[in-house]
Symmetry: C2
Subunit: 333 residues, 2 copies
């Protein structure tokens, strides 16, 4: 099943630039039966239908953030923890509004809580609205498929980048686009705009008919949960390049091109001295690159052509390198 | 067969930040039976045992670099081409010395030329020594397994980064390490030092017994060919972290850590104002991260602890982001 495969990809291969693994792995070193974090899927732990209530989280596990809570009786305190706790399962509840005391999980999230993670009434979880708000919550009731959470306390998710960056990515072949969505979301993009170009294999029509956009959205959600962001970046409906260029532009739009794409190509370093834009979009081509006509159309529409230099990278490695450098440029890294 | 699988991975998924696809794809647009570049493996083109002599390369194909040559009679001229021609198969001949008029290809390269690519006597290829030198050459003779090339003219490979950067990478699980080697080589690292850490699954002994180092070296070579570098980065024998820390250090050594790794952790941006080092090494941990003891050992050995911020990335995406940002910092991007 593709989704399961996807989720496993996302959950089992967490990687670690961030703060997530430290305390857990340290606990594992001490031989404690510690934690089944969001990023470790049930597939990874065949026998791991560990109910949350068996977690024995001690204050010392969170020395970094002074957060502690005991699950069985749901006592907790969060004195100085800067970010959301790394070891509680996270659920997405887009209907959650400020001031809500309880929230009902969407069907898919409820299924995941009940059937995959086997979390029960009284267990502590985390719930976020996809717009930057996150709360510790307790499972208040499970009635058939309805899972209701009681909101306990606000937690602060990791800061979002200061510059809203949209990745405008030409659709790649096979499941490479899944990887790009996953990594771009983990790196902190604000939105992903799939586009179809001359050398794309897909057309907008075939993309709309297929389930690929839905699939990318599921990948984005899994990636958000994994990376502890509380903002769910929008994966927009695919457009042709021309249609995209007609849309209201971001304050800075960059197209990554080959250095040979003419005299107007600038190195990324030219933006070192520049002002930080309020928002940005970076256009990245398909495996076969842009056509000259596409460079010119973009240039005419006010997009600046930039290059990562004379490197030949994998198509799905390009967005990682480009987003990382732009975030560094804009002080977000 | 793992190697074939590997090579296909590398060759079929070329990606494109660089200059490689432009002219070829443009030719394909015009319906010309144009080129079977290094990056397109025979697997990708089942019927594609196109002998080089069938290439109809016209001057116009290389408008960007004013290079032209005709294969059948091997007339060629390279007036202004800044870099090696993008459409000639490249072969690695470490024995090639300055001034050599001919060179015999190593066994594996000869097999690839004869049997996979079906290149014949009189065809034009490119040959590089792995130390930064590259030449156009003509196949002078094929006698059983011996392929001898006649060196024709020097070509200039794309520039190497100014700062020699060694990726000191904790061995990752499965074939993720292959991906890291491939991407790091494409991004331009000078060397890769695999290390074994507390949370690595492999030990130095099992790595040495297995064929993994050889495999990584083949990946590095395939990646060099693909990315048109003429320098083959060394993939060193695995070491433990402690042994690595005892080695003579690069002028700047950085360890990527979680932001929570203590008061001495610096953001990468602190190096914006710093001098560009003569060489550098970046240490990147395994899926499970470093232990506190490892941070401390590194710090005591003079390694600076840096962070990419509160991001949770896939383990194999971290090196791409880190290398790209360091190259940008050092003016190599």
């Amino acid at each position: 099943m593709p989704v399961r495969h996807l989720q496993r990809d996302v959950f089992v291969d967490p990687g670690i630039a961030g703060e997530v693994h430290g305390p857990e792995a340290a606990a594992a070193d001490r031989g404690e039966d510690f934690v089944l974090a969001d990023k470790l899927s049930a597939e990874k732990h065949p026998g791991a239908s560990i109910p949350n209530s068996e977690f024995g989280i001690q204050n010392s596990e969170f020395a970094e953030c002074s957060l502690s809570f005991r699950i069985p009786n749901s006592e907790f305190r969060i004195p100085n923890c800067p970010y959301n706790p790394p070891s509680v399962h996270r659920f997405f509840a887009p209907a959650l509004d400020a001031g809500d005391e309880t929230v009902v999980l969407p069907r898919h999230e409820a299924e995941h809580l009940r059937r995959v993670l086997r979390i029960g009434v009284g267990d502590t979880v985390s719930v976020f609205d996809g717009r930057g708000h996150e709360f510790l919550a307790r499972v208040a009731s499970i009635v058939r498929r309805d899972v209701r959470l009681q909101v306990l306390a606000r937690v602060e998710p990791p800061p979002e980048p200061a510059v809203d960056l949209t990745l405008v990515q030409a659709v790649l072949k096979g499941d490479k686009m899944d990887d790009v969505v996953r990594d771009a979301v983990m790196l902190g993009v604000a939105a992903i705009q799939p586009i179809v170009t001359k050398r794309s294999e897909a057309t907008v029509a075939t993309l709309l008919k297929s389930a690929r956009v839905d699939r990318w959205r599921r990948v984005a959600l899994a990636s958000v949960k994994q990376s502890r962001r509380a903002v769910l970046p929008e994966v927009r409906m695919p457009l042709t390049l021309d249609t995209f260029l007609d849309e209201p532009p971001a304050s800075l739009r960059l197209m990554l091109v080959e250095p040979a794409a003419g005299a107007d190509v600038e190195p990324l370093s030219i933006f070192r001295a520049g002002a930080i834009p309020t928002d940005g979009a970076v256009l990245i081509g398909p495996e076969g690159g842009w056509t000259e006509q596409e460079w010119n159309a973009a240039k005419s529409a006010g997009v600046r052509l930039v290059t990562l230099g004379h490197r030949t990278l994998r198509a799905d490695a390009v967005p990682i390198a480009a987003i990382a450098v732009l975030q560094f440029l804009w002080g977000d890294l």
